[in-house]
């Protein structure tokens, strides 16, 4: 092999035949500059792989929303079919059961109104994307980590309720009784999660804002800021505060959700 530096890409991509590969590795052992260059190329290709993954995830976020839209339309069509079909039958027997016919007529009208309502709601959303769907797409379930079975604290019990039984209301009740100052962040975080799961985005938002104001630890603050954004999305509040925080995260290289913020912006 002539210049080993010309073959770094091929080595990193595992395209060399066995003898060239051995020669290359001998060269690396003898030349620290070559070894260092290979390491940088390996990191570069890893970065490329991650960028491709992120692009694909952004694509799939759009596909998911479209899939959910199709399901909604199919559900409406199914309701229409099942409602219209008996109406036709009853229509023929209207003289015998006029009351039933009226009920079916009302039901049919209600379904049509419902369908129109859905369609109007759908059409009014930018690019057909629902805020709740998008929030759901980007939302990460909390990872409670390892917990000792002997841990009988209220917070551990609340986490168990959420993790194992998805009992968000029960967990909320337990959380109300936690007063320890050392557990404030953990409690607020779980409370916001439960509120989100219960569809109470307003409570989730205020809880997350309290958490953001309470902590200076980036490991707690940054996820809270990101979740706050998602709650704003779910609540369809894409206001100035939402935009400011999205831009802040997007431009903050130290923010652990910077890439997610960029992906969200692309989808928006």
């Amino acid at each position: 092999m002539e210049n080993l530096f010309d073959n770094i890409d091929d080595y990193v991509l595992d395209l060399l035949n066995e003898s060239d590969k051995q020669a290359f590795e001998k060269g690396m052992a003898a030349n620290p500059d070559l070894a260092a260059a290979v390491a940088v190329h390996q990191l570069e290709f890893r970065a490329g792989q991650l960028a491709m993954r992120d692009n694909l995830r952004t694509q799939m976020a759009t596909w998911r929303v479209e899939k959910q839209a199709r399901k909604t339309v199919e559900a409406i069509e199914t309701v229409e079919v099942t409602t219209v079909s008996p109406l036709t039958v009853v229509g023929k027997e209207a003289k015998i059961v006029p009351m039933r016919r009226r009920i079916f007529q009302y039901a049919s009208a209600a379904v049509i109104l419902l369908a129109v309502g859905f369609a109007a709601r759908w059409a009014m959303q930018p690019q057909g994307l629902s805020g709740i769907d998008m929030a759901q797409q980007f939302y990460e379930e909390p990872n409670f980590g390892a917990r000792s079975a002997a841990d009988t604290s209220l917070i551990a019990a609340a986490e168990r309720l959420v993790e194992q039984q998805k009992d968000y209301k029960g967990a909320m009740q337990l959380l109300q009784n936690i007063k320890e100052a050392t557990l404030v962040e953990r409690t607020l975080s779980l409370k916001a999660h439960c509120a989100y799961k219960l569809g109470d985005f307003a409570t989730a938002l205020t809880t997350l804002q309290t958490l953001i104001d309470t902590t200076n630890d980036p490991l707690s603050k940054q996820p809270a800021e990101w979740r706050w954004l998602l709650m704003k999305l779910a609540a369809n509040q894409r206001d100035a505060d939402f935009k400011t925080r999205l831009e802040k995260i997007e431009n903050d290289e130290q923010h652990q959700y910077q890439n997610e913020a960029k992906r969200l912006k692309k989808v928006l």
Binding site: M28, A35, A39, G48, D54, N55, R57, Q59, E141
Partner: protein
């Protein structure tokens, strides 16, 4: 089969090829596949998976795509069966994010068939979780890509799409395209490598990782 639906062979060809649009369309078809979606719903119920079926499908597609492009999936197993097997491993092991794991093959690809999957005990892959240091490395690398000019990001996207398609390169198809894309991408690649070299937090990774897929 609907007129615009691809056959398994066509999906495979599109995924191995260098046309991003065709590649995307093939992944989309897998994502929307009623067979795959129905199977996943069933597995989510069977194994009491804690996230929803769509999350696992997205992770499965990303892992399948990686394996396809680095030559670890060769098409010896039906692609939908392979995707379902990847997803089943994730579900069984309650994996919620594909970003932090690596799949290691436990059986030959050609052995992954529907009848193999009928036995709930069979697991075609071993799941290894990336260490904290590697997760941190990935986070930094993502940040560095984000620092490049938008044009560079686009050029590199195409470059890595082509360059990481090792199966295609090994088949000696499209080498001219690869060279052309590489020429266009050189300046941007240099910029990215300079950023990597000047990031102190990455210094610990400047040791060459032999026999590894970066």
């Amino acid at each position: 089969m609907k007129a615009n639906q691809l056959s398994d062979a066509e999906i495979l060809e599109a995924l191995r090829g260098n046309n991003p649009q065709a590649h995307n369309a093939a992944l989309r078809q897998l994502y929307d596949s009623p067979v795959v979606n129905a199977k996943l719903q069933e597995m989510v119920r069977t194994f009491a998976y804690k996230a929803d079926a769509d999350d696992v499908l997205q992770n499965g597609i990303i892992l399948l795509n990686d394996m396809m492009r680095d030559g670890r999936f060769r098409g010896e197993s039906a692609i939908t069966t392979f995707l379902i097997s990847v997803c089943r491993n994730l579900i069984r092991n309650q994996v919620r994010t594909g970003e932090r794991i690596v799949l290691k093959e436990e059986v030959k690809e050609s052995d992954i068939t529907e009848s193999y999957l009928n036995n709930p005990e069979n697991e075609p892959f071993r799941i290894e979780e990336l260490g904290d240091d590697l997760q941190k490395r990935d986070k930094i690398l993502r940040g560095l890509i984000g620092q490049l000019r938008e044009r560079c990001q686009e050029v590199l996207e195409l470059f890595y799409f082509t360059a990481l398609n090792r199966q295609q390169i090994a088949d000696q198809i499209g080498l001219k395209d690869v060279a052309q894309v590489a020429t266009n991408a050189n300046k941007c690649r240099n910029e990215l490598r300079a950023l990597i070299e000047h990031t102190p937090a990455l210094k610990q990774f400047f040791k060459t990782n032999l026999h590894s897929n970066f």
